[in-house]
């Protein structure tokens, strides 16, 4: 089955029933709809999307923890719903933002035990544990009880657990969530290096940090509201915006409501407004440089002063804005409001 793609989904969908929904409230939530993805072996694949987009749901289905509601999914050529026992020896998973593990065991014992579950012999297990702990900078804590580790160190142990079994396909669900900048960077480097050392291994990483997706992934799927909106290499995704001109503006604080007027201006594709203290940040996606003049005039008529103006290269965030019509932060707020019944 090694000629099969690492991951393949066919019209995959998942609906959650909402328990205790009151009259008039939705009784179910569509977490994934019509997802068709194919990830070849050896690829570093990213899923980029805001909170609630369906990233974790997709990972849970692919790792055999959750049954799909519609469609099918295959990992290493095996159906995750019907042949979980074929899928499991070939995969592993690490999720961020939680502390798992047995607090009463030491780091080494915890990891050894998980090696045992995969049938690894003790010698190989210890050799790999020592090597991986060294790489993530946890070697001096090998004999510390897990309960005495900080959240970040515990997450590093969790990462080692995932890679310990040398899986064909590894699923990383926001592995750097809640880690400081340095630790996140260490982990990104580690994962990148692991991939480079082992051609044929596949990583599926979910994140809502666009830099992470951009820096690490061969291809990225942008996902919102359970749907895959685009799937391509970061460079190609950004190339979609090549003809557009992207500007970053800092202006004195703007009143609410003036933005709608901006989007009506000729040549303006999209304006994202992020209020900061004492000023407003605007990201403009324009059809061409010439449209900037109209925006500057409009700002003047609203009495706003330009503090800073910068032309910049498109990012994956811009691609998201272009596809969804709002920024990831706005999409998250919109999702929350929908949940509140607003």
């Amino acid at each position: 089955m090694s000629d099969q793609p690492a991951i393949k989904t066919e019209n995959l969908g998942r609906i959650y029933k909402i328990r205790g929904a009151k009259k008039g409230e939705a009784r179910q939530r569509v977490a994934l709809a019509d997802v068709n993805l194919e990830v070849p072996r050896g690829e570093f694949f990213g899923l980029l999307g805001p909170n609630g987009a369906g990233k974790t749901t997709l990972i849970k289905i692919l790792t055999t923890l959750l049954a799909p509601s519609t469609g099918r999914a295959f990992v290493a050529g095996y159906d995750v719903a019907r042949q979980p026992q074929e899928v499991r020896p070939r995969i592993n998973m690490v999720s961020g933002g939680e502390s798992s593990g047995y607090g009463l065991l030491t780091v080494r014992e915890n990891l050894w035990m998980f090696g045992q579950f995969y049938g690894l012999d003790t010698k190989t297990t210890y050799a790999r544990i020592d090597e991986l702990l060294q790489i993530v900078g946890l070697a001096d804590r090998a004999r510390t009880k897990t309960s005495d580790l900080s959240t970040g160190l515990r997450q590093k142990m969790n990462i080692v657990r995932g890679f310990l079994t040398d899986p064909e396909v590894i699923f990383l669900d926001e592995p750097t969530l809640g880690l400081d900048v340095g630790a996140s960077r260490d982990i990104r480097h580690f994962v990148r290096r692991w991939m480079d050392d082992r051609p044929g291994r596949t990583v599926l990483l979910t994140t809502h940090y666009m830099v992470e997706a951009d820096e690490l992934c061969d291809r990225v799927a942008i996902i919102n509201n359970g749907r895959v909106l685009a799937c391509d290499s970061p460079a190609n995704l950004k190339r979609r915006l090549q003809r557009e001109a992207i500007f970053k503006l800092e202006v004195s604080p703007l009143r609410n409501g003036v933005l709608a007027a901006f989007e009506q201006l000729p040549g303006v594709r999209k304006v994202v407004h992020s209020p900061q203290d004492g000023r407003s940040e605007l990201d403009l996606i324009l059809e061409a440089d010439e449209a900037l003049g109209g925006v500057v005039t409009a700002l003047n008529t609203h009495g706003a002063h330009i503090l800073n103006l910068q032309k910049r290269e498109p990012t994956l965030e811009d691609v998201f804005v272009d596809l969804v019509g709002m920024s990831m932060t706005e999409a998250e707020k919109a999702g929350e409001q929908e949940l509140m019944g607003g």
Partner: protein, 283 residues
């Protein structure tokens, strides 16, 4: 097959032992392994003295004492196995990582149950020693049929582990208060298993429950092995020979094994459909 068994069973038993023997505080260790079983036995001894005129020489006394002592295993092994799956899920947040490993979850639970057996044994032995030393339970090591005792014990533990697997996989799909299910079941079955009174005291329509439970035959065999002829304090099962009781217990073990397998398949499917494998129940 054997590989799946060994990589599920041994680490599970090892983990269970680490958790159960994690007595960093020797005072707590004493309290749990000695005070608890002794307290429950004292209640029984006083109740017996208050209610019965027969005194500790009556075979009924040792019947009750032994039934109560060995019932400790039911709570430890059966409730313990079902408790460990919730513990993994909610306290250690690691059930999902065990689940996606190439292990068999029922065998994993079996391993955890066996670890519970080890710690349960400490409590049972303490209760028995106290019974012989202080509470007048007749016991003659030379008169005990040891092969029969260990055979019955092993068979009974297997049955209890199967029951633990059934309850454990059921608790996976219970959303509110799944924590109490194991111990509640152990407490409820206490009534039906002839631990402290014979089944014939139960209303006729409730008796079949007792006759379907492995504990009924298991406790009878344990008593016969330990007490010899004196075990026949109550006539409920006296018509059966030892061999017949073993046969029945064996059949029940096979039956519960099949039920455990089917129940696990069913609850596992439901749990994956409902997204319960990494859920947190309402606290």
């Amino acid at each position: 097959m054997f590989k799946t068994f060994s990589r599920s069973f041994f680490p599970a038993a090892w983990l269970g032992w680490q958790i159960e023997s994690n007595w960093t505080d020797p005072f707590l260790f004493l309290a749990f392994s000695i005070a608890k079983p002794i307290a429950s036995v004292l209640i029984l001894v006083f109740m017996y003295n208050a209610v019965s005129q027969a005194g500790p020489d009556s075979p009924i006394y040792s019947y009750i004492y032994l039934g109560n002592a060995f019932y400790i295993y039911v709570t430890e092994v059966m409730a313990g196995a079902s408790f460990s799956i919730l513990d993994d899920r909610e306290r250690y947040r690691s059930l999902k990582y065990i689940y996606i490993a190439p292990v068999s979850i029922p065998i994993y639970l079996f391993g955890r149950a066996v670890a519970r057996f080890t710690t349960g044994t400490i409590a049972v032995v303490i209760t028995l020693v106290a019974g012989v030393l202080f509470f007048g339970v007749p016991f003659n090591p030379l008169g005990v049929d040891w092969p029969m005792f260990f055979a019955a014990l092993a068979l009974g533990i297997v049955c209890l582990a199967f029951m633990g697997i059934i309850i454990g996989s059921w608790t996976l799909i219970i959303r509110t208060e799944p924590w109490f299910v194991g111990e509640a079941t152990a407490a409820a079955l206490y009534l039906f298993s002839g631990a402290v009174f014979p089944l014939s005291i139960l209303p006729v329509w409730l008796q079949p429950v007792g006759f379907l439970l492995p504990m009924t035959y298991w406790l009878e065999l344990i008593r016969r092995a330990l007490l010899g002829p004196g075990a026949a304090a109550f006539p409920t099962l006296s018509a059966f020979s030892n061999a017949e009781l073993f046969g029945i217990l064996m059949l029940i073990a096979v039956g519960f094994g099949i039920v455990a397998f089917v129940a696990y398949r069913y609850f596992d499917r439901r749990a994956r459909e409902e997204g319960m494998i990494d859920a947190q129940s309402n606290f």
